[in-house]
Symmetry: C2
Amino acid sequence: MTYCVGLLVNQGIVLLADTRTNAGVDNIATYRKMFIFETPGDRVVAIMAAGSLSITQTTIARLAEANVVEGANPETAILLAPTMMDVAAIIGNTLAKVRSEVEQKLAPVGQGAAASMIVAGQRRGGRMRMFLVYPEGNFIQATDDTPFLQIGEHKYGKPILDRVVRPETSLADAQKAALLSMDSTLRSNLSVGMPLDLAVIERDACRMVLTRRYEAGDPEFRGISESWANAIRESFSNILV
Amino acid sequence: MTYCVGLLVNQGIVLLADTRTNAGVDNIATYRKMFIFETPGDRVVAIMAAGSLSITQTTIARLAEANVVEGANPETAILLAPTMMDVAAIIGNTLAKVRSEVEQKLAPVGQGAAASMIVAGQRRGGRMRMFLVYPEGNFIQATDDTPFLQIGEHKYGKPILDRVVRPETSLADAQKAALLSMDSTLRSNLSVGMPLDLAVIERDACRMVLTRRYEAGDPEFRGISESWANAIRESFSNILV
């Protein structure tokens, strides 16, 4: 499985993805699930992927290719598309098409495959946007009422987001919330694992201001994790029933 | 859906169940999911149920009947069975049989149905036990390594249990942990709802020492919920990233 979370707050966007993939618990590997496309200052698009790796890798490869191919055009190139909504549509169409191809290959053995994506970013002159693209290619976007989106193993890490994330949450706090949401998921579910990929986009910068990999045993992540564990235990013992 | 959680600690057993059932989000009702069988001082058995109501109600009705029918015997009556392991086996067999009957009725329309149960209690002279009975009738039991069991919407409420529940956790703290685990689930998932049923069994009492229903708006539950929300928010703002 996978856990990816994206937060869209007034100050910017925070994205966090794990890197664990598994085909059964005895076949575990590390694959990057976060992909960044940018023309710094003009446009930044980040994609996080969950689901069948054969679908997500091919989708990302085709999206990358469409930006650089001779005759690249706004209909298929996410770095050229007129709006973020168009970017989401291109990604949705590509994802659905690749899925359909993979499912045709799997049909003889009676299996299916699917993948979903979180797409976030901003183009110059437009607003920041964040979308959840479904396996069928349709998509929804984050709003002020629901300023975060999750894909993969989303349940363990949802309570903390429900409690603390609002549009007015600072970018630093959004980063903290994403890390704590991931921390809860890592502790409770073996199919989500380190290292983690973090990306931060500031509003109107139209480029990545921070990308960071947290390797297993990263002292900063471990510090946050331990502080939170202690704070939870302390809060727990202070509650009176 | 449903959320039921049972904690088996050295001092006793704490059980907590919600009461929401739904057949689609437009068909929501309240049904008790916790059932208590006891011969106070001799034996206490509590059952919590998740899954298809047509299976769980019939299963509970048959288990109740088997205790009082003429010629009630230790092979089928959970109040007479020699050990708690036998109690779990009787419940598993009954559950699997009812499920099989219901599935035969559903087969023509291509549907299935299933239910699972948490069974906890003690008989005089035996140890406290807690089991998770699967839809097929097999079961596992809680151990010192894993002193809690969950059925239904278990993911939202698992992180807090992973963090604070150990065999040496006091009965009061186990009750608090169960309520906070339920609180996180209620906040994040609409298919789990108030009122809640709580039951507490002290070690070697072989009877219920406390049963309590928390209605919607219950001031005690609301107090715990609000204190916890405040504590989480305060802890969150104290963590340095």
